[in-house]
Structures are given as C-alpha cells and as structure tokens.
Amino acid sequence: MKILIVEDDPDLRRQLVSSLASRSYTVEECADGDEAVYLGTEYEFDLAIVDIGLPGRSGLDVIRAWRQIQRDFPILILTARGDWQDKVEGLEAGADDYLVKPFHIEELSARVNALMRRAAGHSKPQMRFGPITLDTTARSVLLYEEEIKLTSYEYRTLEYLMLHAGQTISKAELTEHLYHQDYDRDSNVLEVFIRRLRQKLDPDQSLNPIMTVRGLGYRFALEATH
C-alpha cells in the first residue's frame, strides 16, 4: 500500500516516513503543495497524509485540486490548530479524517489502517476469507488461525490483493503500489513473491487463493466471510 506524505516540517516528515515504512507501507514524501498536487495527479496512491498548514499552496488547496480531478484515495489531514473551523473545512474540502498535532504514531497508524479498510469496504480490522484471515492492525496473516511468517514485501503484496479481492490486479498496478517510484521494476520479482505466497498460503494446493488471469494479472479468488 502506497502512502503520500505531505508535510513541511522535516523532522515530523522523517518520523512519519520511517514509522510508516517500518509498518510495511510504501511511502512517498514531499514538502510543498505544488509538488503534492503533481505527485497525487501523476501517480497512484492508496492514501495521502496532508498537513493543512503548508507554506505557499495550502493543504486545503491540494486536497481540492486532487478531488477536482477525481482522485478518490482516502486523505488524512494533520492540523496543528485543532479548532473545529479547521477540521470542518478540511473534511468539506474532501479529506476523510483528521488528526490534531501532536499525536502518537500508533494513533496515526490506526487511522491510516481504518481509512484503508474503509476504502476497501471493510469495517473490521480482521478480514476473513475462508481459512485465511488478514489482520491489518497486527499486519499479520493467519491460516486456520495460525500465523504465517511473511516478509514485508510478501505481506504488502497479499494485503493489496486481499483488499481488492475479486478484482484483477495488473502487475503494473501491483508494482506501482508496492514499490517506490524510483524502484527497479522487475516483474520477475513479483512472480517470485506470488509463488512464495502461494506456497505459504496453500501448501497442499486445495484453496488456490491467488489466481493468475492470463495476460492481465492476478486476482484474490476467495470470498470474504463475515
């Protein structure tokens, strides 16, 4: 899952980037509004974290610009003032949630998780797909209630596919959402991840959770159980 962080304070930005990256998110960062509008317009993101009080082009402006061209990824705004006028204006501009500075990274992480789930249409942090359970809070995957050991990239790949269960996801889209923009995109690496995931999730090849759609990409084939 790819997150764009728009924050002008270098210290806070560094903190956000490192803590979200350590939680297996792919993170892009920028410090000013114009660049943010450019990045959000040109690249695919799964979520954006925007500081309202940006110098120059304001955070509200950035959000409006994105929403105007139908960019519908969830947006979390950060506000220092914390008065309601600010919050309401931000949400009216198109943001989905807000966080008042200063905040705990855990709080931010929880909000980010919730927003991503919401965008994928799930209301609980645990998603069940037959015997496979995805826990977005613990960032873990259970098979028959037993945790499977996954590398960070494996988890990201699986999470993306599961959050978009039933949809065919192209390799290009997966790469776009899993790696940094300057990452060397070698689709063989992706195939390796998929193969390893299949081995871990379906050792006896009875479930077949990840289907290959020839020429188009992959699809998470199990149905969500509530």
């Binding site: 914390g82 008065d83 309601w84 309401v88 009216e92 919401r118």
Partner: protein, 477 residues
C-alpha cells in the same frame, strides 16, 4: 495644459490644513468675501438707483416749475428773466435750463447756463424725444445729468412744440455716491473681520470638548486614569462611549492573555517537575519511557486547552447572530464522513431560524466537541434539537451510547475550570466546552437521553433579531 496648471495651483492654494478649526476658519476666510462682495454690490446698486431716481424727480420738478412761470405771448414762449429757483440765476450753481423750439433753435436759456459749452447745447438740440415722454440720462464725460421734457402748446388750433432741458452737474451726486461706497466697503470689511473673529471664538468654544477628550486620552496613556470620565456633548458621546468600551475590552483582553500565560506556565510546571524528579528516581528504561510519554501527553493536553481558550473570543461581538442549523449541519456532515463506518442516523429537530448571539468560532468549538463525543460513543443515532426559552437558546445533543454515569450526571459547569485540576485521562473537549459556555453565562447539563445514551443540554444566549429589534441597553444600569 494651462487649465490643468491652473487647477493644480488652485488645489495647492486650497490645500486644507490639518486641524478641524483651521479647516473651518479657512473655509470662512475664502467663502465670506464672496458673500460680502455680492451683498456690497447689491447694496451699492440699490443706492445708485435711488440716487438717480431722486435726481431725476428733482429735474422733473424744476422743469414743471419752469413751465409754470412760462407765458405765451405773440405765438412765442416767454419766460421771466428771474425765476423762483435762484440757482438758475447763478452761473456756478451747476443747474441750468435750456428751451428749444421744434426746429432745435435755442429759444431761451437760464442765466446759469453761461458756462455750458456751445457744443453740448448744439448736441442737446438735436435730440428729439417722443412727444409726451421725458428722458433722463447721465452724460458722464460732460459730468451732467440731462433731463429732457418735450411739450406741445395748443393755442387757437395751432400746435407749438418746445423742448425743456434741465442740465444738472453730477458733482454732488457723484460725491455722495463715492462717500457711500467708501463707507459701505469699510463697514463690510469690518464685518468680515468681526465675523472671522467671532467664528474663531465660536470654534474655540465649540471644539473644546475635543481638546478635553485628547487630554483625557493622554491621561489614560500616562496611567492617571482608566477611562474617559468627562461630560461630553451629544455628538461626541457615542465616540467616548465606544472608546471606553474599546479600552475596557482591550484591558480585559490583556488580562486574559496574562491569565492564560500564567495558567499555561503554572500548569506546565507539574509535569516538568515530574520529569525532572524522575531523573533521580530508580527507573527502568521502559518505565522511564512510559513516564515521559504520560507527561508529554499531559503537556500536550494543557497546551491544546490553553490554545483553544485563546482562540475563542471572550467578548461578545455586538449584534452578531449565528444561525445554529448551518453550523450543526456542517459539523454533522464532516463527522459523518469521519465515522462513516457507523452509518449514524442524524436527526435535527427544530434548528431552523434559531440563532446564537455570539461568535461563530465559539459555536463551532462547542458543537464540534459535543457532537464528536456523540458520534464517538453513540451506537447508531445522534439527535440535535433546539428550542428558544425567553432570551436563551437551548441545544440538546443526545446519542444512544453508554451514557454518562449517574455520579457525573450533575451540572459539570465550573467557572474557569482549570485542566491541571481535572482528572487525568479525561479529554479536554468538555473542559473547553465548559469554558466557552461560562464565558456566555450559559449552562451545561448532562443527563440520560431518551435515545438511551447521554444528553448534553446547553443554554446559550439567543439572537432573536426577527422578533424584536435590538435595543441599546441603558447606560445607567
């Protein structure tokens, strides 16, 4: 170009000095002469007209007197040698009479006419006025008034035409006119100066309250007074009243800042002391981290609370009416987005046309904090209803959440409740609300809602602009 330069120099000439008194005086200095010249001109004109009329009527009387003493003998007009009017006999009297016949021949002349130039006599003889209508004119170059009176004498069926002309030197009349003019303009100049002097005095007296006002203000500046005490005339009083109000609110503002700063400093001392003390205690890294975390949370809350106190306005802005429905709808719209998973049913009851008398920001803070609680703790329903009770606006915000414990269901509004005295872990939202409400002398109550959860009932001043006009409160209250 020339016109431009002219207007420019005119502007420069009329560039008005800075003080009110100088402006008014300047206007009088420029405008009064125009008035006086008009008045003087009119007076002079009237005097001239009346002078000429009197000269003409004298000449007419003399012509008639001359006619009265005339006799008609042998088809000729005959006049006696000496006339009733002695001036006709004196050479230097300035008054002389000439009688011409129809052919313009001089038939008779008074003895006084000896000095009248022949040329003038010849010129007069050629003038032929209409029979029966006299003619009066001022021969300025010859310095004479000339009165011509044509007459027809009918005897035995024959007509004899004559013309009587009276010449009167204009010396006396002109002298009278000059004297009048000198006196007139002299007096008018005196009136001008007197008027300016009077106006100066009137202005000095009339603008005195402004000087007192300036003195009063400088007394405040120097710290000798705290408000404008003086008695001021009606026109200045609104100004001084508003100034007093401004000074007062500014003083309160300053006090508030001072208090906020003091509160902030004092309330930060405790967590700082805890952190400082922890250094000398035995702590594991983990417990030390937890302690730092707790105390920095506490400090964050304190800062946030004091910030939101600083944001909201303590003074009620005059006459501002904030529609409640708009603020509630905006906040509910925003919160529905944040809590979209809950799919809250929001019910707004009777909010239309309800207005809050106060600051919009305050209302937003108040409703934002209370509605956020409702969305956070409610299961599926939030209700906001409003009613007016006399001068008050009653807003009830209820939800179907777990509600507030019976022990806490009392009026939690405490004047100037400070965060560092409240229990830790409790959000600052309610403290901010209580603070805002107390600044409007309102009330906040918590009780069980009919929806099953908590109901926050707040009482605020209402703006009832549509029902009764806003009347100024009497000052002597």
């Amino acid at each position: 170009m020339r016109w431009k330069r002219l207007t420019k120099s005119l502007f420069k000439l009329f560039r008005v000095p800075g003080t009110l008194r100088a402006r008014l005086l300047w206007a009088s200095i420029v405008l009064l002469p125009i008035l006086i010249v008009f008045a003087g001109g009119a007076l002079q004109r009237a005097f001239e007209t009346s002078l000429l009329t009197s000269v003409e009527s004298q000449a007419r009387l003399q012509a008639f007197a001359l006619l009265g003493s005339a006799e008609f003998i042998e088809q000729e007009l005959v006049l006696p040698r000496t006339l009733q009017e002695p001036r006709f006999s004196q050479v230097q009297s300035g008054l002389s009479a000439l009688v011409f016949n129809a052919n313009g021949e001089l038939k008779w002349r008074s003895e006084s006419s000896a000095l009248v130039a022949d040329e003038l006599i010849a010129r007069i003889s050629t003038i032929e006025p209409e029979p029966g209508s006299s003619r009066f004119s001022h021969l300025k170059s010859e310095q004479f008034f000339l009165y011509l009176y044509p007459l027809i004498w009918e005897i035995d069926g024959s007509e004899y035409r004559y013309m009587i002309s009276i010449l009167n030197a204009d010396f006396d009349a002109m002298e009278e006119l000059t004297t009048f003019q000198t006196q007139l303009w002299g007096w008018l100049s005196a009136v001008y100066l007197l008027a300016l002097l009077l106006q100066y005095l009137i202005l000095r007296w009339g603008l005195k309250p402004l000087k007192y006002l300036a003195d009063d203000i400088s007394r405040i500046e120097s710290g000798d007074a705290i408000d404008l005490r003086g008695q001021y005339p009606g026109e200045v009083e609104p100004l001084t009243r508003n100034l007093n109000r401004l000074i007062d609110s500014e003083r309160h503002q300053r006090e508030r800042y001072r208090n906020t700063l003091a509160d902030l400093a004092h309330s930060l001392k405790t967590p700082l002391a805890v952190i400082k003390g922890a250094a000398s205690e035995d702590h594991t890294l983990e417990s030390y981290q937890r302690l730092i975390d707790e105390q920095s949370d506490r400090m964050t809350q304190i800062v946030q609370y004091q910030l939101s106190r600083a944001v909201k306005s303590k003074e009620r802005p005059l006459g501002s009416a904030v529609p409640v429905a708009l603020a509630v709808e905006r906040i509910c719209g925003a919160l529905s987005k944040v809590y979209s998973e809950k799919r809250m049913q929001v019910e707004l009851v009777a909010l239309d046309a309800k207005q809050f008398a106060g600051d919009e920001r305050d209302l937003m803070e108040l409703l934002g904090n209370l509605l956020e609680n409702a969305f956070k703790y409610g299961q599926s329903q939030v209700r906001v209803d409003a009613e007016l009770f006399e001068q008050d606006l009653i807003l009830c915000i209820s939800d179907d959440g777990p509600g507030v414990g019976t022990g806490q269901q009392h009026t939690i509004l405490e004047r100037g409740a400070r965060l560092d005295t409240s229990t830790p872990g409790q959000g600052i939202g309610l403290a901010v609300c209580a603070d805002i409400i107390s600044s409007y002398n309102g009330a906040l109550e918590v009780r069980r809602s009919t929806l099953g959860g908590a109901e926050f009932r707040i009482q605020l001043p209402a703006a009832i602009s549509t029902l009764s006009p806003i009347t100024a409160s009497p000052l002597d209250e």
